[in-house]
């Protein structure tokens, strides 16, 4: 069975981000999406620590400790970009001004509940950062994750067993096997990205899937 690499997943998400979109890419896998946006497509990348118009990583030696992204990595600002304070930055998210947030996840439920901030392990030190804000931070919230855990369990679930980040917030799921839309009737298979059939995909998924209309 073919599975998309992380770079291929990022390229697949990038295909669905259109010119002019205001987009926040979460820490980790979603950050890779930026590498696959065509240079001639103007997309506004937002970073919650206070910039719009985020550019790629600086050349070695050009790093500026005052210019970082939400993952605290050095970045650059595109011509036309802007800086702002934290309350404005989260108003852009909470206020529905962003078009797309792309987030990683431990689990997504059939109704679009998201778990991505805390494993719930009793000895874990909890840290939420902007996860709960990002989950509600755009008109469309896309999740990027492997279809299954390393031990082969579906990460698409009937109900999240990890602590929730937000309820019913996810609009689309990109995995290494498929693109799934969260619809009122359930998860609809938008595209299969592997060489498997609908039935085989269904067998690997923890909840009933719908064929796209």
């Amino acid at each position: 069975m073919k599975r998309l690499t992380r770079d291929q997943m990022a390229a697949r998400v990038a295909r669905d981000i259109s010119e002019g979109a205001y987009v926040n890419l979460g820490i980790g896998l979603p950050t890779m999406v930026a590498n696959h946006l065509p240079r001639d497509r103007e997309v506004f990348l937002h970073s919650e620590n206070g910039l719009l118009g985020m550019g790629p990583a600086p050349a070695p030696g050009e790093e500026d400790e005052d210019l970082i992204n939400a993952g605290k990595q050095p970045v650059t600002l595109l011509t036309g970009g802007a800086y702002f304070h934290h309350a404005d930055s989260f108003a852009m998210m909470r206020g529905g001004h962003l078009d797309i947030c792309v987030l990683g996840a431990f689990q997504v439920s059939v109704s679009g509940d998201l778990a991505n901030w805390h494993t719930g392990a009793p000895d874990a030190i909890p840290a939420v950062g902007g996860a709960m804000d990002l989950a509600l931070g755009a008109r469309d919230v896309y999740v990027m994750m492997e279809h299954q855990t390393k031990s082969g369990e579906s990460k698409v679930v009937a109900q999240c067993t990890y602590p929730l980040t937000a309820i019913g917030c996810v609009s689309r799921i990109y995995t290494d096997l498929a693109v799934l839309d969260v619809t009122p009737g359930g998860l609809s298979v938008r595209e299969i990205l592997s060489d498997i059939s609908f039935e085989e995909l269904q067998q690997l998924t923890g909840v009933p899937l719908l064929r796209a209309a």
């Binding site: 400790e65 005052d66 902007g130």
Partner: protein, 222 residues
């Protein structure tokens, strides 16, 4: 003549009492007022409640304040990081209290305090562990959680330039929490790279107007 500039960092933090709530700007190391924090460590105030996005990185700045056992409680969004070993050890030993709040709620709670708002309903966190026990309300079909403002006695922030009236401009993403923390504290102390003459900052481009700032000090003046 109004002059909010202080000659030294030590003088700027001299009156921070034990038990004070102190906001500290910065997101990671960007915008962290490390020189003011070092002055606060030297000053010796204890039992502090600290408000910051993180809980210290490495062994300097906020981490050093924690390491010196001056902090009773921290209100933050993202304590656990690869280099948060000072906080991690204190937390596991039960020597520091943690109030975890989503980052946008943290920012808005700070802003609300500075803007005289008594509380606000936010969708962030609804239905999660971090909203347990909090009042909720259904508004136009959407669920919201009531969050309280965070007031502070002092704010320590870092800006690029300031003048004797307290007007400030920042540098790139080092701005982050600075402007709202200045609003939320009774006494906002800004360390700056440069103190400029009145009028040198373009009034159209001043980010924090001086009404929100009580003290300005050059960051290399120990």
């Amino acid at each position: 003549m109004i002059n909010k500039t202080f000659a030294t960092l030590d003088e700027a933090v001299a009156d921070v009492p034990d038990g004070a709530t102190v906001m500290i700007g910065g997101f990671g190391n960007a915008g962290m007022p490390s020189e003011l924090i070092d002055a606060l460590i030297a000053q010796g105030a204890r039992e502090l409640t600290i408000v910051n996005n993180n809980a210290g990185n490495g062994d300097t700045g906020l981490a050093a304040l924690l390491k010196a056992k001056r902090v009773r409680k921290i209100i933050c969004s993202f304590p656990r990081q690869t280099d948060s070993h000072v906080f991690d050890a204190l937390y596991r030993a039960g020597e520091i209290e943690l109030e975890l709040t989503p980052q946008g709620n943290l920012a808005e709670r700070i802003r609300a305090a500075g803007a005289g708002i008594g509380g606000f309903f936010t969708p962030t966190g609804y239905g999660t562990l971090l909203a347990e026990g909090k009042e909720t309300r259904l508004i136009d079909g959407r669920h919201y959680v009531l969050e309280a403002p965070i007031h502070a006695d002092f704010a320590l922030i870092k800006a690029l330039r300031g003048d004797r009236w307290g007007n400030l401009v920042y540098r790139k993403t080092a701005r982050n929490f600075g402007p709202i923390m200045a609003m939320a504290a009774k006494c906002a102390i800004a360390q700056v790279s440069e103190i400029v003459e009145l009028g040198e900052l373009d009034p159209e481009a001043i980010v924090t107007p001086g009404i929100f700032v009580q003290r300005v000090v050059k960051q290399e003046n120990k």
